[in-house]
Amino acid sequence: MTCRRRLAAGTLPIREAKAPIKRRFLQRHVSQVALSPSLALIAIFLYGFIAYTAAVSTTNSKAFPRFDTFVGLEQYWRLFHTPRWHVAFTNMFLFGGLFLLVTISLGLLIAILIDQRIRAESFFRSIVMYPMAMSFVVTGIIWQWLLNPTLGIEVMMHQLGFESFRLDWLTNPDTVIWALVVAAFWQGCGLVMALFLAGLRGIDEDIWKAAAVDGIPAWRVYVFIVIPMLAPVFLTVVVLLSLSIVRAFDLVVALTNGGPGVSSDLPSVFMFDMAFRRTNLGLSAASAVVMLGTVLAILIPYLYVETRERA
């Protein structure tokens, strides 16, 4: 952009001066003009409705939003005295942490293995990538059947003779979060693998040659040279996975429906339940605002660091 403007100013000063003012305005502000419709839409449908939700959260709205029932911060007090909310809120971090850890480490490992110039690479790549084509609802139902102790893997192992085999993740409130992690990993691993693989392929071959000359073992090259070089990929992966953690809703609904009890509830499920099953829009809006606040609390320091590094 700057380059082109300098060119116009330097080589064609006469034409520039003769151009109508209107056109010059358009030329200078073409990006703003092009962006403004979407900016307006975002302003209304994103920020406008965030403000609307925040406003609803200060009312005692039931089935319909009603602003004549202002109650201040009472819904927030209620929210934090709801045991189910605490379960859901803790679960988001538990599920999120485990999911990030498992998916990133195993996704990277698979990418590294596939990167070894193996035979039939595209075959293996496809196998890992295929689950991504499934929606979370299908993923949830598949894993619900597999992990069900009376008709899934456990029964199969018993029939094979391993009578003491137990796999009750789905029916045990303490371990059900692992069932969510496994299903989410199965679905999300392909994308992570693909991103890391692209990153690995972007690493200069000369680095490997230099390391080979110095006689450094491959694992050390990965740990101390290649993986640090993948930092931007890590960032992308973390952002993408974090989004899917906060959004996670369909997976829970299909896999456990929040059960056993309410032990696998997530804030998004809680929010939906309060709004549409319990017809309590006020409380539901309060939970949405708290969710947004949590995301911002994580995102703002990250953005701050990001922008400072770039500058």
């Binding site: 319909f64 005295h81 045991p83 619900q144 029916t171 056993p260 549409f276 319990r278 017809t279």
Partner: protein, 408 residues
């Protein structure tokens, strides 16, 4: 546009009928009856309605929640359907209070005499009927696989003590005592029947309608939790999160001896060629509780102004309350008719028990349709949390009472 359609519809309806109709209009109806038995039952209503010279414009939406959301959105947008399936009680009152429903007293003058009082009271707003009830589904039914019971050598239990006492014998023969789908909406049927068992109908009222703090912390409540804790041992490890129809299959196939579930389960028996009341024994549970927890589907009449639509609404209400329609509808749906004067012959043994209970005033409207949704929701959340944990009855009781108190 809508008016024009309505007029056009009535003209067409008029042209198509040979008899002179009293009313003629088109009723657009939103409902969520899409599965086999439901659709067959609905056809009875639709055919009877069209015989009156009116036209039924079908607008089915799969799933109750989705259907209610569509209806609500249409109402908010100022384009309400003529009528929609809605539950009597609090959900209906919420709409009526917003001024979104029409009274239908022109055709409902004698309904008070025909309907059980609890249904009449909950279908009326400020003394006027705003909805026409079409079925009654009971919730606290105990079903027993007769072949399993015979094999074990026991009769249907009359109360929770007897049921729990029989569990060891059932297990000794290799059966699961209680088939339970571990989802909160299924578990609440079990919990409600325990509440009736420990404190009768009055106690159920205090706990689930009033959500009374003293009742929630009473000795009866502790006893209910002690019984409820024993349910953990009556079920199989696959119970948590299991769907109701798969759970029903365990009862039907003879893997499990008992199941507590609403009478819509009968549809599964019929599909498996089992006769309710013979192959599968039934009982309102606990037997001496004189309480049948029930839900009623009705068709709510929206606040339309157009006289043609209004006439269509009145004709619809009249058709729904027609004794033949009520009978034929429930025979197909597996429910019982709200009208008390309907001929009982042809109904299965379990439906006849339910009709007797309705006539004797044992109906108890499901708390979801009476109590504050958030408070009863908190109770349900704590009920299911307790069942899937190793909390002691004392801890469970306190947690429930605290959670309910926080919603006020």
């Amino acid at each position: 546009m809508l008016n024009k359609l309505g007029v056009l519809g009535s003209v067409m309806a008029f042209a198509l009928t040979t008899t002179t109709p009293v009313y003629a209009g088109t009723a657009e109806v939103i409902h969520w009856w899409t599965s086999g038995g439901e659709a067959a039952a609905l056809k009875i209503l639709v055919d009877a309605y069209e015989k009156t010279g009116n036209t039924w414009k079908d607008n089915p939406v799969a799933g109750g929640e989705a259907a209610r959301m569509v209806a609500r959105t249409r109402i908010l947008g100022g384009d309400p359907p003529t009528s929609m399936q809605w539950q009597v009680g609090a959900p209906l009152m919420a709409l009526a209070e917003e001024g979104q429903l029409n009274g239908i007293d022109e055709v409902a003058k004698d309904w008070d005499k025909l309907l059980p009082k609890v249904i009449a009271d909950n279908a009326k707003f400020e003394g006027k009927y705003v909805s026409a009830p079409i079925d009654i589904h009971g919730h606290n039914w105990l079903w027993g696989n007769q072949a399993v019971l015979d094999d074990v050598g026991i009769a249907m239990p009359k109360n929770w003590d007897e049921l729990i006492a029989s569990a060891d014998k059932i297990r000794a023969k290799g059966y699961i005592p209680l088939a339970l789908g571990g989802q909160s909406w299924q578990e609440i049927f079990v919990f409600e029947s325990i509440l009736v068992d420990v404190g009768g109908r009055d106690f159920l009222t205090k706990v689930t309608y009033d959500l009374d703090d003293a009742a929630l912390r009473s000795p009866e409540m502790l006893k209910a939790f002690q019984t409820f804790a024993k349910v953990r041992d009556l079920v199989d490890p696959g119970s948590p999160s299991r769907d109701w129809n798969i759970t029903g299959g365990m009862l039907i196939s003879g893997k499990a001896a008992y199941m507590i579930m609403g009478d819509w389960l009968k549809g599964e028996f019929v599909a498996a060629n089992k006769v309710p009341g013979k192959d599968i024994a039934c009982e309102i549970f606990p037997a001496g509780g004189k309480t049948l927890v029930f839900g009623t589907d009705s068709f709510a009449m929206t606040a339309v102004k157009d006289p043609a639509l209004r006439e269509a609404q009145l004709a619809l209400a009249k058709t729904i309350m027609d004794p033949v329609v009520q009978r034929e509808f429930s025979l197909r749906k597996g429910s019982i008719p709200p009208r008390l004067d309907v001929d009982k012959t042809g109904f299965d043994a379990c439906a006849q028990i339910a009709m007797g209970a309705a006539a004797e005033g044992q109906l108890f409207l499901v708390p979801d349709n009476v109590a504050d949704a958030t408070s009863i929701g908190a109770l349900v959340d704590q009920m299911t949390t307790f069942l899937h944990s190793d909390m002691t009855p004392e801890e469970g009781m306190t947690a429930m009472a605290d959670a309910v108190a926080a919603t006020r």
